[in-house]
Subunit: 132 residues, 2 copies
């Protein structure tokens, strides 16, 4: 079992999770794998890709999470926020490959799929109130 | 569920798997995630890293798989072979996060851990005969 308790620190609030750069680093690996897997299914052959910042920054906006971040965060930091939250949800077992793949199968656009994943995470983790 | 049947082609033999560059691309994402996760556990904070070719090429040698590859394959292609086989085993459900983490917990050196993972895969998939 993944020893999430050893990896994750205690977070104060949702913004604290979104701005954790270390968490974003692990999230980057996770996000690249789920997207590579989804794209492999679509292309019907294995492939590996890195998700670009633009896609994840757009997903942050579409998910409604942009307003939880400080005003002056650039595209790169917005992408980091998406990666951090996805890693957090995965390590806390609120998110798995199944759910991610489902969203990629149902959404042609990858930013849309990531936005749905972020929305799902917020709902499952009961974070909506933090977004109001 | 991951639709592995849609992603994987039919392979002739073990060398055919090891030399599949597309499979290596997906494997690269998987290998980076498991190593990032293992390192996060060790450092007791989340982190993200890319596994270098040297580590995986050494793992190929230590696992005994080097002799299955053509003579003139460079370090990069040896690393690709490790990534391809790990992806193949993962997609066929012979390998999961649990087993990978176990090997990283039990082995200080990452090339040693990857060698053990490769050996485990060969054993589970009954590929030893292909290595003689």
């Amino acid at each position: 079992m993944i020893r999430s308790d050893r990896i994750l620190k205690k977070y104060e609030n949702l913004q604290d999770i979104l701005l954790d750069k270390n968490l974003a680093k692990l999230g980057d690996s996770y996000v690249n794998l789920i997207y590579s897997l989804a794209l492999s299914e679509k292309l019907q052959r294995p492939t590996g890709v890195n998700v670009d910042n633009q896609t994840l920054a757009t997903a942050i906006k579409k998910s409604g999470l942009r307003k939880v971040l400080p005003k002056r965060v650039d595209r790169h930091e917005q992408a980091n926020a998406a990666e951090a939250l996805i890693a957090y949800a995965w390590l806390n077992k609120f998110l798995g490959f199944e759910r991610c793949l489902k969203n990629f199968r149902e959404n042609e656009r990858s930013d849309e799929a990531f936005a749905k994943i972020l929305k799902y995470v917020c709902k499952r983790m009961k974070l909506e109130k933090c977004m109001e």
